[in-house]
Amino acid sequence: MKQVMYTAEQVKALIEQGKNLILAGDENVLRKLPTGNWIGGTIPYFMAEEGGRFDQTNIYVTELPDYIKNNFIIVYDEFNLNRVYTDIPENGMGFILIPAACNTHLSFSLNAPGFEKFAFKPLLGWITGVNLADLGKVSPKVFNGESGKVIEDGAVVFHMQLPENKISDMSIVNVFEQGQGDTFTFPEDGFQVTDVYVNGQKQNFADYLLENKIDTKLPLVADYYGASVNVSFQQIDKDARRVDLYAPVFQNVEYRCAQPVEDYVNLFESNMPKDDVDSIFFSCNCILNYLYSELENKQTGGITGPITFGEIAYQLLNQTMVYLTIMDK
């Protein structure tokens, strides 16, 4: 299997060779790196060569193939991120990193589907995170390796152009499907929910989840014309009678609780298109899948990548594996 985890010294050497890199690692390791053609995001959880692992020493490396030309890095904030899709070059793609829970993350999550040229070209990436033991104490960050700048609120994007004989394709693997239970709709878009319509009847969502003993390890699932799109539960605030989510729900979209999953790894492997694995340029999977499905030391169909606080395939997703393949036309 191809090497994906590198020591800081090895990454430093790649940077000094002028390689174009997308990096994932613990903040303290990324801070040791010299400036160069790279972007990075903080996370200490990975699907590595040998399986799921927590690692604060090594760095997950995605090296851009030499045939990728016209690549450039742009740092956005919540106010100019609306041009992220129009900035992607012709026959190109954008690779985006955003720190979890910053204003840019919230803005992107809510507004990306309305940005100009949404989904015309692939925008993939992930929401950066921290060691779960440091939640609330350490902030997730992204790095612009070109300038050496470390960013707590913003998005760093590596835009790149493929040669004429290549084409990219972004897909997801989501093992969750809508269950057969109640249907939920929400009166407004948002991450924090109080009111919900359950089969058309208005209720408090926190009360509903508690009274019905809903397993909040399973996401809400919407059916997007055959593709299941998840929204994961963060917490139920009993006192505030409010439900906090890891991605926004959208008004007029129908959601249901996911069908329970018995064996994530087996189901994942059966959902993974086998012929795509060798041409995968990048993939990432969700921290909630890593935790709830106990992926540490387990392999998922030979797929590697950072474990993330949110996945981006055009827009923010939860509890989903995102992958991008590059192939000949």
Binding site: F118, F120, V253, Y314
Partner: protein, 82 residues
């Protein structure tokens, strides 16, 4: 492969939900959902025209992908895109 013009009524049928296809290309799943929500808020002819044009343009942008070609055949049939 030929991508039919936005004025072809079958684009409208997709966005309004008159026909319901399961697309292979993930971008279409996202876009058709988004455009159907836009139309729910504003069903005017101007908005409908804008939405069908946008959907058509996304197909045209990605038409070199085999799964996009298969999705087009689902909507228009083999004869409609030859």
């Amino acid at each position: 492969m030929n991508v039919p013009p936005a004025t072809d009524v079958r684009w409208k049928d997709v966005i309004t939900g008159k026909v319901n296809y399961q697309f292979e290309f993930f971008a279409f799943n996202m876009c058709v959902k988004r455009l159907s929500l836009v139309l729910k808020r504003d069903s005017s002819q101007i908005t409908l025209n804008k939405c069908t044009q946008e959907l058509r343009d996304i197909f045209a942008e990605n038409v070199q992908l085999p799964k996009v070609q298969r999705d087009l055949v689902k909507i228009f049939g083999k004869g409609g895109v030859a």
